[in-house]
């Protein structure tokens, strides 16, 4: 009954993805924890955090697709929201270290002791509580996106100009977070984490749980985005990419619609970042690098912009390729990535998902044509038809 409801609500491919993600969330950790290493189905322990990282990237691409694919807002700074979510989680993990740090200060993280700070800055308060950190994971990227979007969309900044200021936003944050006196660990960022909610981050079971959490969150955020894009508001969002003026002149507040999508998207990116940090074990200002945000655009374009499914596949595929290529042929990776982006832009405007639907349509059309031929062919033999003989 649940499957029927899911199908009618989200459609076949989207339901299949949700079910697949939930299945992965259970099966992969099981295959890692329960199966002995010599079993061919065993998932090795080093693979799980890597795959979990890909799922976080997929969630980031999904977030970008909500604004780029559906509202036509090309954000070149979505990595900033991802990194802010990551820092919020990193701050919690830092405070969990407690007296086990190198300097053994019960309150201050190591880098503060090293910088001779006497007390915890006010913005680190509360991060010893997991719930508070989770709240900040949503609120900080959301608030930044809201304020940024409020000014940008109200002033009707669109297109290339908006893309440039989103890029400037992430670059400004990169520079700010590099500074030691910002209080976020400067160049080195936050690392050397010990445990999350009392579970050791080095333990296989914790890693398996984090992987499962990533897969489940991806399924949930995907379902949320899918529900929104299928709603009337989703149609208004898509209408923005066709004729923004018409949307305004039939009485919708264009800036409110964009602000909603942008803020929600930033929050999803924040969740992705928060799940990413405990799995890779570090967060530093490098995550704010403009190139990171541009890579997200490439994943989304490769998978298929404006499809929600596509960006998830794009992120998994490109990052899988990256892991393989940077190990096997490190010098060609960037060229391969560039070539891929050019090829997709030129030949697959709707990405891989677009290619699949195109092939499906062609197949269906051929099938329909064959059926029609079958129905009309028998009564009149083609050879006797004067028109055909001509």
């Amino acid at each position: 009954m649940i499957t029927a409801k899911l199908l009618s609500r989200f459609g076949l491919s989207a339901s299949a993805l949700i079910v697949a993600l939930l299945a992965i969330a259970i099966l992969f950790p099981l295959a890692n924890l329960a199966l002995p290493p010599e079993n061919p189905l065993h998932v090795p322990s080093h693979l799980l955090p890597l795959l979990g990282k890909y799922l976080c990237y997929a969630m980031l691409a999904l977030a970008l697709d909500l604004v780029w694919g559906y509202c036509g807002i090309l954000s070149l700074g979505h990595g900033a929201f991802f990194a802010l979510g990551g820092y919020a989680m990193g701050m919690y993990l830092m405070r969990q270290i407690g007296p086990r740090g190198v300097y053994a200060d019960p309150i201050l993280p190591d880098f503060m002791v090293f910088l001779n700070w006497q007390e915890l800055p006010w913005f680190w308060y509360g991060f010893d509580q997991f719930w508070f950190a989770c709240l900040m994971v949503l609120l900080v990227p959301g608030a930044l996106a809201f304020v940024f979007g409020w000014f940008a969309f109200r002033s009707r900044v669109t297109g290339v100009y908006l893309s440039i200021i989103t890029q400037a936003l992430t670059y400004a944050l990169l520079l700010a977070f590099f500074r030691n006196d910002m209080g976020f660990g400067g160049n080195n960022g936050l690392t050397d984490f010990k445990e999350i909610l009392g579970f050791s981050l080095q333990a296989d079971s914790t890693r398996a749980a984090l992987f499962a959490a990533s897969a489940i969150m991806l399924a949930l955020t995907f379902a949320l985005c899918r529900a929104i894009t299928l709603s009337k508001l989703g149609k208004v969002m898509q209408a923005l990419t066709n004729a923004e003026n018409r949307v305004r002149f039939i009485g919708y507040r264009v800036e409110h619609v964009k602000l909603f999508a942008f803020t929600l998207s930033a929050m999803i990116a924040g969740i992705a970042g928060a799940l990413y940090v405990p799995q890779v074990g570090i967060i530093n200002p490098g995550e704010f690098a403009p190139a990171n945000s541009i890579e997200v655009v490439i994943w989304t374009a490769v998978g298929g912009r404006g499809t929600l499914l596509g960006p998830i596949f794009g992120a998994l595929l490109v990052n899988g390729g990256k892991s393989y290529f940077t190990a096997a042929f490190p010098e060609v990776w960037l060229f391969a990535l560039g070539a891929l982006f050019i090829a997709v832009t030129l030949f697959l405007p709707k990405g891989i998902v677009g290619l699949v639907t195109q092939l499906q349509e062609r197949f269906a059309a051929r099938k329909a044509a064959a059926k029609r031929q079958k129905q009309t062919a028998p009564p009149a033999k083609p050879a006797l038809n004067p028109e055909a003989a001509e």
Partner: protein, 251 residues
């Protein structure tokens, strides 16, 4: 509706001027449109017809002058969205529809209702909405194309769809900019019928160059030139005016 509003004209422009880089696009323009009236606006290129619509719909702010809707609503203080929600619908010169959506969805989006973000997110499509859309589809003669993507419509059909979207908004005043540009004669005739039917229940302002079409409409005509009103009255009266012949018709 209060009696005060009944006595007030629906749309009232007085002494409106606007200039762009020193060029006076609108110069001391005054215009009154009554409830239930259809008005045709003619005039040479650059007479300020589209700029006038921009001012009424809040796209352009006038430098001086008054623009009032239903007596007390000052349109110069409101933006496009607020004005649209007051009940002024606008059709652009170039047909502007949502090409990525079906004809049906175009109308669903335009349908009168709460335009708030969350109201839109959770909105449900009622049987009454469906009825209203069927009605509009019949009016604009696009029933058989309801599920067609708007991008795949012919030029004339896009114009009609846009008019249909305006109807779905249920405005009190419709501003229609060159509705028959690029239409075949048969389509032009259909459009005149359509606008006459619409004008039975609401006020309509039509900007057009096609004199045959204006004659078909058979309504009061205002001729603009160089940003102000040159002549006003029946088409025969206006086209007999010497200044109109000199600046517009005679050329």
């Amino acid at each position: 509706m209060s009696t005060m509003q009944e006595n007030q004209p629906l749309l009232y422009l007085d002494g409106v001027s606007v200039s762009f880089d020193g060029f006076k696009a609108i110069n001391n323009l005054s215009l009154v449109v009554d409830h239930g009236e259809m008005r045709a606006i003619i005039g040479p290129n650059g007479a300020g017809k589209t700029t006038m619509m921009d001012i009424i719909t809040g796209k352009t702010r006038p430098d001086t002058g008054e623009v009032f809707f239903e007596g007390e609503k000052d349109l110069t203080q409101l933006d496009e969205t607020q004005i649209a929600n007051l009940g002024i619908g606008r059709k652009f010169q170039k047909p502007t529809v949502f090409e990525g959506h079906s004809v049906y969805d175009n109308l669903v989006l335009a349908l009168k209702g709460d335009r708030g973000v969350f109201a839109t997110l959770f909105s449900r499509f009622s049987a009454k909405d469906r009825e209203r859309i069927e009605e509009i589809l019949a009016t604009i003669r696009l029933q058989s194309r309801a599920q067609t993507l708007a991008a795949d419509l012919s030029h004339g059909q896009k114009q009609w769809l846009e008019i249909g979207m305006l109807l779905a908004q249920d405005p009190k005043l419709l501003l229609v900019d060159e509705p028959v540009a690029g239409m075949t004669d048969a389509e032009t005739e259909e459009t005149a019928k359509l606008l006459r039917r619409i004008a039975k229940t609401r006020s309509v302002v039509v900007v057009e160059h096609d004199m045959g079409f204006i004659r078909d409409l058979g309504v009061k005509v205002t001729c603009l030139a160089e940003g102000s009103v040159l002549a006003e009255g029946s088409l025969d009266h206006v086209s007999a005016d010497e200044r109109v012949i000199l600046s517009y018709l005679g050329r």
